[in-house]
């Protein structure tokens, strides 16, 4: 869980320095969230080093029951976009691997600009169907060189 915590912290710090395109100041940027119907607790792990704008990269997702039991054999669909701009993700990311402990690899992530992005996950597992939306603010620092 440490890995996730530190990654979450990193993104929060990043978000605090961003906000150029005036994302709402009260955005919930937490990387661990319950799903809409509280069937799962989902933790999103961004890459250790923020990816450059328009560069493909991978994230990880960890699924657990509300009591903390890892959820295996889930199907995850990824969607999202920029709510303030009315467009979706520039790519169609996919959950391509299931690792141990209810952790899944999401490949094909890409952000085409800085600002507020939503990452929406639809989860379909033997334990039920539910969905969750994360907010992330891509900062210029991530735009890299």
């Amino acid at each position: 869980m440490n890995r996730f915590a530190s990654a979450a912290l990193a993104l929060t710090v990043l978000a605090a320095t961003a906000g150029c395109m005036s994302a709402p100041s009260n955005l919930d940027l937490s990387l661990t969230r319950p799903t809409v119907d509280n069937k799962f607790v989902v933790t999103l792990q961004p890459p250790a080093k923020p990816a450059a704008i328009n560069q493909l990269h991978s994230w990880q997702v960890r699924l657990a029951s509300p009591s903390g039991t890892p959820i295996a054999h889930a199907r995850i669909k990824v969607d999202g976009g920029m709510p303030q701009h009315g467009h979706g993700l520039p790519t169609r990311p996919q959950a391509t691997q299931e690792l141990a402990d209810g952790t899944y690899v999401i490949e094909g992530m890409k952000f085409s600009m800085t600002g507020w992005w939503e990452i929406k996950l639809a989860i379909d597992s033997p334990e039920g169907v539910d969905k969750v939306t994360f907010n992330t603010v891509v900062a210029e620092a991530a735009a890299g060189r």
Binding site: M21, L56, T91, R92, E107
Partner: protein, 791 residues
């Protein structure tokens, strides 16, 4: 023994040194820290910084094109790009619609090749950053894109076998050096291809599978060469870049480059105009597809744009996963994760970059909007889309429709704001080149072709017929002569200078070039003549070139080489800038707030000093006492060599004795001229610099290393600088087989076996004819990038 004593740099010079030194120690004044002069908030400054060309990362590697970075592929592609034989009627080349004089586009609403197309020709510079090519992204690489028009019936209109035959007869050697043996084509039809007319398709169908694949491979390779060339093209910095760099640096120096209206436009661009929403980053594009309700050119034939292109790119035999790709399937991530079923793709087209936009009317994917004003007003009008749905919102019909929370706000600008925004768009291109200069450059330059948008290069016969080498001698107060080369329209005449035959236009009227000056500092005992080839390349890029004569260390007067001259040389560069500046005809055409300096050997020492380096005679002494056996010529000069005999030890001993006596001054020497904007040191003498002083040079510093340099052994000199430098340094080229004489072109005649020949002569393994033009092109490119040719 006496000869050795005399040969050490210093004799006769040291005494004069303390008196002759005209050294101004570094005094670069930091700016006053006024970081917010025009009221940009921290967030706004971050957005502004993100637009700078300096933020542009290196162009991504395309794993599907294995040759894209090979100079031979770039050169082949450059030639193919302009070769009109590759078309049905022998009159259409890539350059027909992608005209290097017009930012690689044609200024027409839709392309005109052998017929008339249905979309607008797109500019090419920066296209290597796109994952998806064409307005609709129906190709996934630059090379696959290049093949499209070649087979398109209304563009080049040719066929695969025709192109293979043409390559075999005209470019066989070049092709085979890159791609291996050309397949046998003797029995193949002249015109056959899968995209051709009925007869051409039929001819293609009767070829066997192996033949079809072999021809398609030749065709694909042709695209890879063209892509290599296209990918070598670079954007020029704009006035906006200078402005945003100044804002980012908290400097007030360049704030004035934008007019107040342009600054207001910039505020709108990143603010309520919302332009930066899609036109973001250094290329002013998010590289994505958007429907903004641009009216179709032909209402009867609506264009679904991206929505139809995803199927095409997946099925394209030339895509990343196809048989002609050099990529592993796992490297084809863009195709794998492509969005293909999103309703917002209907009627969506790629966001074009905006660099140079004001000079690129008409606008949109089919040239629907004729003027910049119509372009800006389109986003305010935000019409409903004829096909699909526009992302833009508008309070249509004056209704009270307030945008929903998750929609974009309408773009509402006053007439004055439209004007301001248009002004800003005008500042996104490089400086306007005079019409005459633009007309004189019909074709791209050779080698690493980096073209200023709106202007082009001059390196072939047709071009040189218009842009000539001007020559003038400016007298120096010390009796020497500063030689100046510059672009001119006047005709050149043959000239003999010593052993060299040149041609130039003596005292001719200068034409307006790019407004920038490069000063070349010659080597010890040097002349301007051995730098004429470089000067000509620089003139081809629009520069003016001044070569001061360094007192006491030139071909006519070698009385005071070594540290005495090293101390004077940078000052002499400053004086040369003054001299050119005050010249009645040259001065008014130049902006001398960013001057380049190039030097080789002792000239490299000059360049390093002007880049902020500080050196001292005692460091020279220490280096020689420690390393003279390994770096003999650096310490002793040109008069004698180590011969591997019993005298070597005596020579070294004698030289050390003199050096120890003569070079004890530990004062750091430097000279900063704030007009210097970039420096290149080639095979420099550099062992006497304090490495710390060049850890962060004052200006961008290019280094050229010649691995076989026995005169200034690289590890003590240029490599030490490269190792010490952490910021703003770039090794422009490392010449594996090059020696010290690579800084000279033309090469003076050297008596075989002489000391000069041993120290300067080319090794048999050094390919001068192939290497030097590329080096000169890189030198010119470095100065173009860093001096930001002025308005």
């Amino acid at each position: 023994m006496r000869r050795i004593m005399n040969s050490v740099w210093l004799l006769g010079s040291i005494m004069a040194m303390s008196a002759a030194l005209v050294v101004t120690l570094a005094h670069a004044a930091p700016s006053s820290g006024d970081s917010n002069a025009q009221g940009w908030s921290k967030e706004e400054r971050a957005v502004l910084a993100s637009l700078s060309l300096k933020r542009l990362p290196p162009v991504p590697v395309d794993p599907s094109n294995a040759v894209e970075r090979l100079p031979a592929a770039i050169e082949l592609g450059r030639r193919l790009f302009a070769d009109a034989r590759f078309s049905a009627n022998g009159a259409v080349s890539c350059a027909s619609c992608h005209d290097p004089r017009k930012q690689f586009q044609d200024g027409l609403p839709v392309g005109r090749g052998v017929g008339t197309g249905s979309r607008r020709a797109m500019p090419i510079v920066g296209a290597g950053y796109s994952s998806w090519l064409f307005w609709d992204g129906r190709k996934d690489s630059l090379w696959a894109q290049a093949l499209g028009p070649l087979e398109d019936a209304v563009e080049h209109g040719g066929t695969r076998t025709r192109y293979a035959h043409l390559l075999a007869s005209n470019y066989r050697k070049e092709y085979e050096s890159l791609f291996g043996a050309m397949p046998r084509l003797e029995n193949l039809p002249r015109d056959a291809g899968p995209q051709g007319d009925v007869a051409e398709k039929a001819a293609w169908a009767v070829m066997d599978t192996g033949q079809r694949e072999a021809v398609s491979r030749v065709f694909a390779n042709m695209g890879k060469a063209i892509a290599a060339y296209e990918k070598s093209l670079r954007h020029e910095a704009s006035l906006l870049d200078r402005y945003v760099d100044a804002v980012a640096a908290g400097s007030t120096a360049d704030r004035g480059v934008l007019q107040p209206g342009e600054v207001r436009g910039l505020r709108l661009f990143i603010g309520k105009g919302q332009c930066v929403t899609c036109h973001n980053g250094p290329l002013f594009t998010d590289q994505q597809f958007h429907n903004t309700g641009v009216p179709p050119r032909d209402l009867a034939r609506t264009d679904r744009g991206r929505a139809d292109a995803t199927t095409q790119v997946r099925g394209d035999e030339f895509n990343c996963l196809g048989p002609f790709s050099d990529a592993q399937p796992t490297q084809c991530q863009e195709l794998r994760f492509m969005v293909d079923d999103d309703p917002t793709l209907v009627g969506a087209f790629k966001t074009p970059g905006l660099r140079g936009v004001a000079q690129r009317a008409p606008y949109m994917h089919a040239g629907q909007l004729a003027t910049l004003e119509q372009l800006v007003r389109h986003y305010i009008a935000a019409p409903h889309a004829a096909v699909g749905h526009s992302e833009l919102t508008h309070r249509h019909a004056g209704g009270a429709a307030v945008p929903k929370h998750d929609e974009r706000a309408p773009i509402e600008l006053t007439d004055a704001e439209v004007t301001d925004l248009m002004s800003l768009l005008g500042a996104l291109g490089p400086e306007p080149v005079s019409a005459i200069a633009a007309q004189s450059d019909p074709r791209p330059e050779q080698g690493r072709a980096s073209l200023p948008m709106g202007s082009t290069e001059c390196n072939d016969v047709a071009c040189r017929a218009n842009k000539h080498l001007g020559y003038i001698e400016l007298p120096q107060s010390d009796g020497g002569t500063t030689t100046v080369f510059y672009p001119t329209h006047a005709a050149e005449a043959p000239v003999q200078k010593g052993p060299f035959k040149f041609s130039w236009a003596h005292d001719a009227d200068p034409m307006r070039g790019n407004g920038r000056l490069v000063v070349i500092s010659h080597g010890s005992g040097g002349s301007p003549w051995v730098h004429v080839d470089l000067a000509r390349v620089l003139i081809g890029r629009g520069f003016t070139v001044a070569i001061p004569q360094h007192a006491g260390d030139n071909y006519q007067d070698l009385a005071e080489p070594g540290p005495t001259s090293w101390a004077r040389r940078p000052v002499e560069v400053s004086q040369a800038i003054d001299r050119v500046s005050s010249h009645g005809k040259l001065g008014p055409l130049l902006r001398l707030d960013a001057v380049g300096v190039f030097g080789g050997s002792a000239g490299g020492h000059t360049a390093l000093t002007l880049a902020g380096g500080r050196w001292s005679p005692s460091r020279f002494r220490d280096h020689c006492l420690q390393n003279i056996e390994q770096d003999f010529s650096s310490c002793v000069g040109f008069t004698t060599l180590q011969q591997g005999d019993g005298l070597d030890a005596i020579k070294a001993w004698a030289a050390k004795l003199v050096i120890r006596l003569r070079f004890s001054d530990a004062t750091p020497h430097g000279h900063i001229d704030p007009r210097i904007g970039a420096a290149i040191a080639m095979v420099p003498f550099a062992a006497d610099f304090d490495p710390e002083s060049l850890r962060q040079p004052q200006v961008p510093l290019g280094l050229v290393i010649a691995d076989k340099d026995v005169n200034q052994v690289p590890r003590f000199h240029v490599e030490a600088i490269a190792a010490a430098c952490e910021l703003r340094c770039e090794v422009l080229q490392r010449l594996a087989e090059g020696g010290h004489g690579t800084m000279l072109s033309p090469m003076p005649p050297l008596q075989p076996g002489s000391v000069a020949d041993r120290l300067l002569g080319d090794l048999p393994s050094f390919d001068r004819a192939a290497t030097i033009p590329r080096l000169h092109a890189d030198v010119a490119e470095f100065f173009v990038q860093h001096l930001r040719p002025a308005r």
